[in-house]
Symmetry: D2
Subunit: 438 residues, 4 copies
């Protein structure tokens, strides 16, 4: 567990190296005369680092005049927000990896023609830096069960699924493969279905929607410091949130069940409230006690899943037709999944949208970047909000990954450390035990 | 070989993570109100990256106003120039590593009191990130010989030696340990003796000075594109350079021999010229043919070394007394090793020197950062120049490593990529072979 | 006329000097240790220049480390957007000028306490630099009529009225004083009434609303390149805009008439449309032919004004009670003057609003900064739009001027030059004539 | 006197407007696509402001991405350092002014071809902004004597003389014209002779070298706080400085006398020491008591001057032939005027020198920028230093003014305010009197 949190197999470092090599090649190109005629204001390729480092969110690089310039505005994103991470998660092999890396758009020249990683001849070296990282990592659970841990595009700022190669490896090796698609089913599941399954030709047979009494209570309006107090009425109110998730998953034609992560403090009345909400939507609720009992505690969910797979036939289809315009795709997600009335774009987002067709991305799926705390783009709108407008503040092309990212609300691609960061409390003791990491 | 050049065991990545965590903690501290009263103009802790990225040499971070600021000027250094690299190379174990990390000075507050990593509570998490990297890496040569490859502070910008733990591990496991101290004996050997041996209590028994006909010819005044033409007279002239290296090593009381890396084009007359120069200094010249014949080609050097060890007793002592003032220590190195007439300091270097005693570094050794192409700070002064003044442009405290860095001439701690970087020609072929890496 | 456009009496230069002296004192204070504890991210005092210079809109100053720093983000505004301009326009004399300058808030310290110009001891020197500029400038029209030209806070980004001292001087010297309050009556007139008259105790007796057939046609939906074609129906539609202006002025209790600047191309049918719209609002329409006939052409309007003054009694009162909260004041203007449904604030504007009471500005009037092309904050919404939300993107305290500025939409305080600026075509001929200035 | 110090006739403001208009046109050109292909790192045209504002010394402009960029490094200089000031001081009329403005080099494109103000079509508008400022300003002394005060390029950073038009106007109106050429005769006089007289064809007939006992005492090694104590021996030592100034002036073939500004504390023995030094150089010393007695106190100097003009014939010639290379011209000034052994150039200065011929400035005179406190570039080297090397840190082309500026040592073109700036103590009292301005 510690190894997974500390460098692990170095995949993140390899991604950072490949990503930042492209940045260095780009700035060296500008330094040596900018033969490609890049408009420095329209460079969209950021730098990346595996650190929550707010000070790198907006920077100016290339200061120092003739020997180090030209200067330009730049930005860092965390590695789960790097397009290289998304590319590695979607690549089907080394050749596809290199082809995707070559297609990355780093910016535009003065005539608004895209400039790609291949124009900088970067894809070969980037591929080499990623050659080992592309292999899925096999780890085991505390009980020895096998798990593939590979790639980590976050569901709030990226497409949120582990790698296609890991999933396909799993499908080769076993009868059933379970995969996590996190940060809320409105984000993780939607993008798993619309991006990963669409690209990789996967046919998901069932979905497990995970819920907790605590989260539903919060969606029912209970303050954070009151979540320990039993409140079946609040849970019942909060189930509006769960019910929308259930309906959302059904829109994709995939049979579903709800697994409730059971904690000690949950009362029977609260569980009943959740069960009633699930029944109303025609899906089964199965308590899951893995937290308390290990693998044993998950047997009920596993059996329910097998029953579901036996009894129901998936009719999976993505939410939208890729041939819709980018705006129509965003609109579809906003209305059908989030419950929005419509979408508003900033002037910058509108300008960015105009350049999409020239990138060959007119028929690409959309990757929404949005808070995971609400169906809307406002983290304080709990439950199942309606009547709101989704605000798209920027649109970024991930031409290598093959999708168009829409940044909604004030979602950040580079977080910052708090006033008293966890790092301050971390210690490695002489006996090798670690304090403060979890 | 490829693995060593591509991520290797991830030590560099671990160093970058530990180093940049301190940067992130520092900027988060400024963001949250700067309780330590740091003067942002006197922050000396840079960021680091494993990339030749000129655009990161001088940057402004923290733009974006209230949510991301305050802004400040910052700089990136390559990882061999990171103080964390120097610290890891000098640390004797986890506890010493943590203690050194804690002592790092990140800058000064408005009353010019140093602010340390420990004031930011960074040392615990940094140590944890380095816990595996601190272990030496055992690799084997093409013939299966064991070698420890661990840490890489460059000899031109850092102290230039591999790690103390690797050397001590080697001494435990074998009769003889050979270690490389590169970038010219004026840099690598001086710092190996004066910094590493002094700190680690090592007693080197002999030194092998490595030379090539080609390099001596260049020091004899031959242009780069003419180095293939035999020119014994030029070699003889260039031997002034080798002779000063020999005399320099002798100043440390260590018996020496010269190993001449023999290449096909070297003529007997050229070899004779080098042999004559060595004789004049009373040291043996032994041709080394490892490049052409593998281990076999090095037997003669090995035997000469054993003979030297048998016949001569080392009387190792550092060049200077640590109690001298920093300026006197720099002056001693400049005059006795480089052949300079004196040292000139910029106003900024003078200002920095005034702060050294407050850091507890008055008795610390000095780590010179200087071009490896000349004894002077001017890369074009070949041979054995005299009559020059060494220009110290800045002085930086490495309080964790335990030395004071003097930057001479225009030595850079962040190089840049050329107009046609090697990365452009790197390819990973479908059969797994790599093109363009070497 | 040329003199007025070229340096004139140097008032703008004096304002720039006084304004930028405060900036220099502020940065010198930061440089010398920041004894006032200013949070550089919360410095709100920009620099100013009499130039449309987009590149100065967002800058970083104070680069160069110890000798020139610290660095920080800064902004330039044009001189009509400088608070010093607003202060000079509102000051009643030298003593009041100095007192207002002293009250200027330049930013906040880390405990969010305001820091004022007086904390930097800047008001004395600023007052001295403005001592001559505070005197109104008397010029004459082509026919020799006297006019006071003094101060120029633009109606779209500032309060939009000439100086209080000029107006009071005029009232002392003559029976009737006419003053311009430009950039649309929703901006100029509202701020003249609510800010200048409120502060200076002025009681306006009548208002002349100026209109043109051309502008009304545009508000009726005609494209710019079609405005030369007679279109009485479009004029009639566009009169919705004029009618709202008439009703707005009436809300202040001031009797009004409409002066129509008559141009050659206006047709009788178009004039009739405007007259009908005015009649419907109960105000007289008087064509004004000053453009074609000089003073003679304005006699009809002058006589109509005298008649209006004879026949009607003004009952002037500001639109809102100063004791309302800042948000309520903005809301009142947005609804009653602009026709908005409500007001939306950005997170930054909300944060800024929280600091207003600590500045002693809770009961200050509001100075709206908004496009002059629409009643709304969207320049493309012509006519008399309703059903829109006013977007307030930032709130800035002008503590010296004594009001709170609300920036709506994307109004800019630093414009930029176009691709082919007028400056390129300006010439001074040998005979002293000037080409290209108008 | 106050008026001269406060805005005066607005000439400085006009210069700032003309200068910064060119900056705005330049950045607008970059913004709109950079059709001229300017290399932003090689833009040499700074901005200017009439303020000691350290924070503007090094800045980044053009932040804000697509709507406001591109960003670039920029610098502010004070107005006496503006090339427009130098141009106005050297222009012979409106047509020449416009031609010089047109020739200004703002930077270089990627092929290192100079880009001029005329390429940006800036000269017409700049000329118009300067049309009144080009006229000399006539003021009177306290006793009613006429004086022309016009243009102020400082002798330490610019060519240090008032305008050619003012001098020529004076020559038309009177028999004798005295002009000040300040900041030490090594700077002011050398540049008056080599630049202004050369360009304007002036033939100076005599030179008055001004000295004070106090300054000579300082050059004799007395500390600032001891200058009040009589010390004839120190004065005698310090006269080495005066004697070199006398010899320097004689090199130009111009007869000279020394006027000693007499202050109350000067003792006869000290005066005798100065007189002896002057005698040794064959020039007369005349005490001048203008400070204590007004015009009356200067009669002796005036009579001595008339006598000198009667008795001696000037044989004025510049120090160097304009056809020498720029380096030879700098070398000549350094050796013959400053007493240096030679000149050292930074790499940046060398790079800049290479571009001079392409600018048509190979035969231009050189304008030295250097401290006025020493003959050398080190303000602490008093008296008449020898044996030093002059350090030229940068070379800047003033193609409009027609000379090449060499920046020696650490001379600054943008000073900063101290910890307690004079501005803090300035007051305008109710009776109109001013406190703290002098």
């Amino acid at each position: 567990m510690e190894d997974i949190n500390l460098h692990f197999t170095g995949d993140f470092h390899a991604i950072a190296s490949a990503h930042n090599l492209l940045s260095a090649l780009l700035d060296a190109h500008l330094h040596h005369g900018n033969a490609l005629g890049l408009d420095v204001r329209r460079i969209t390729w950021p730098r990346t680092i595996d650190m929550n480092d707010r000070a790198l969110r907006n920077i100016v690089v290339g200061l120092g005049g003739i020997t180090a310039g030209p200067s330009r505005e730049d930005h860092y994103v965390i590695i789960p927000g790097s397009e290289v991470m998304a590319i590695m998660a979607l690549a089907t092999g080394i050749a596809d990896l290199e082809a995707r890396l070559a297609r990355i758009v780093v910016g535009f020249n003065f005539t608004k023609t895209p400039v790609r990683a291949s124009d900088l001849k970067a894809q070969g070296a980037m591929t080499l830096l990623l050659k080992d990282a592309l292999n899925p990592n096999l780890v085991q659970t505390l009980e020895g069960g096998p798990a593939l841990v590979h790639c980590g595009p976050f569901g709030n700022i990226a497409h949120g699924c582990n790698s296609v190669v890991a999933t396909k490896l799993g499908l080769t090796l076993s009868d059933l493969v379970l995969t996590e698609a996190g940060f809320g089913a409105d984000l993780g599941a939607e993008k798993f279905f619309d991006i990963k399954c669409r690209f990789a030709g996967l046919e998901p047979q069932a979905a497990i929607i995970v819920a907790t009494v605590r989260a539903l209570k919060m969606h029912g309006g209970v303050k954070k410091d009151q979540l320990g107090t039993p409140d079946p009425a609040a849970v019942a109110r909060g189930c509006a949130n769960l019910q929308r998730h259930i309906r959302n998953v059904k829109q994709f034609g995939v049979p579903a069940l709800v697994a409730l992560n059971h904690f000690t403090g949950d009362t029977p009345a609260e569980l009943d409230a959740v069960r009633a909400a699930c029944s109303a939507e025609g899906v089964e609720l199965v308590p899951c006690e893995v937290w308390g009992k290990g693998g044993e505690g998950g047997v009920a969910v596993a059996q329910a899943l097998l029953k579901l797979l036996d009894g129901t036939k998936s009719a999976f289809k993505p939410l939208y037709d890729a041939k819709l315009s980018i705006k129509d795709k965003i609109d579809t997600i906003a209305r059908k999944i989030y419950g929005a009335d419509g979408v508003r774009y900033t002037a910058g987002a509108e300008r960015a949208l105009e350049l999409i067709p020239a990138l060959g991305l007119a028929e690409a799926p959309v990757c929404m970047a949005k808070t995971q705390y609400s169906f809307s783009d406002d983290a304080t709108k709990l439950g199942a909000p309606t009547g709101f407008t989704l605000n798209v503040r920027d649109v970024v092309a991930s031409a290598g990954a093959g999708f168009v990212v829409a940044l909604a609300g004030d979602i950040m691609t580079m977080p910052g450390l708090g006033k008293s960061p966890a790092a301050e409390r971390i210690r490695l003791h002489p006996d090798g035990t670690i304090e403060g990491l979890f």
